[in-house]
Amino acid sequence: MARLEDFDELGRDYLLSMPMPVFETTPWAKPPPVANARIAIISTAGLQRRGDRPFSVDSSDFRLIPGDTQAADLAMSHISTNFDRTGFQEDANVVLPLDRLRELAEQGEIGSVASMHYSFMGATHPGKMESTARHLAGLLKQDAIDIALLVPV
């Protein structure tokens, strides 16, 4: 469904007209073996703990999702109306696969799951998130994170 041809002409026009940030090169940080890695999820689904501040237009900050957060405590305040939310309503893992990561850690396929995960709100132009993202990198290092999995919505 997220194939370009699955959208109508108007939807394709919008998606292909979106301004994209330009990067001249692609950075490359060498990861450790996944089986030894401590892994965090960075979402742009506008997720927050219930009771935390909702996202609003142009929010460039992030919300904290502690690793032991239960699905019942997760809310979504992404401003866009242009994606399905019924999947998240049924099962939070279809957006934030925390249970799947925990299972992989228990099975030894990954090293461990981070104590903290983070959510941005992806309707904001990514250029406005740059300084927050660089700040986040410092927090990830403090939590000894080896790999960040980025999950949009």
Partner: protein, 251 residues
Amino acid sequence: MGALSHYLEQEGIPTAGISLIRPHTEKIRPPRALWVPFELGRPLGVPGDAAFQTRVVRALLSLLQAPAGPVLQDYPEDTPATATEDSSAWACPVSFDRPVTEETLSTSIHREIRQLLPWQELARERRGRSTFGAAGLPIDQVADFLLAWTSEQRPDSPRADLSSSQLLKLTAEDLKAFYQEAVAAQPGAMTGRQAADWFWGETAAAQLFVALRTACLAAQEPDIQWIGHNLLVPREQWSRFGIDDRWWHQQ
């Protein structure tokens, strides 16, 4: 999402990300991306299918073995079709009790809410959670607040910590969540697209969203106009209402 990969990786954090719109990822060129063909809003593919989700996570993790990048790999598996994939064959079991005489939009919506309430409560009980409640208002107050936005007198926010326009967006999503959770409690599998087509094609609540859009576009404030252009009626439903508002070419 790909831009965040650039920023984090530049700071020394290895990343792997899911890509939803492949042409965007081709332009941004993040270090490691897995393009998935799933419906927007479902980056792991299938709700309630742990095995499917785990396969996607494993594919994402496998990108971290690449010796050099950028890597953009296509996920090979599509979501399984439901037995009722064809919208025309799917009949929504929530058949509203239609009024004999004409009624106001407010009356229609409150009637729909009364009829959906037992289903939404059932959904909450079965799932042990509900995504309704972002605005912190009960459902009837959610509807009344949105209806007031279509009147001459814009409503004050009942919450001290949120402006009326911030609450507009949260209540709009709450109203949709209430309807969608209620209809999902009914027997029969339903795709996100089918739930959307039911909501936008069959309910008075959809008419409220169209009226809200009109009210926001008529506002003086650019941020309220933007909510009208972009945040109320999904683009994929515009043709149903004869909307062709390509505001992105006017910027």
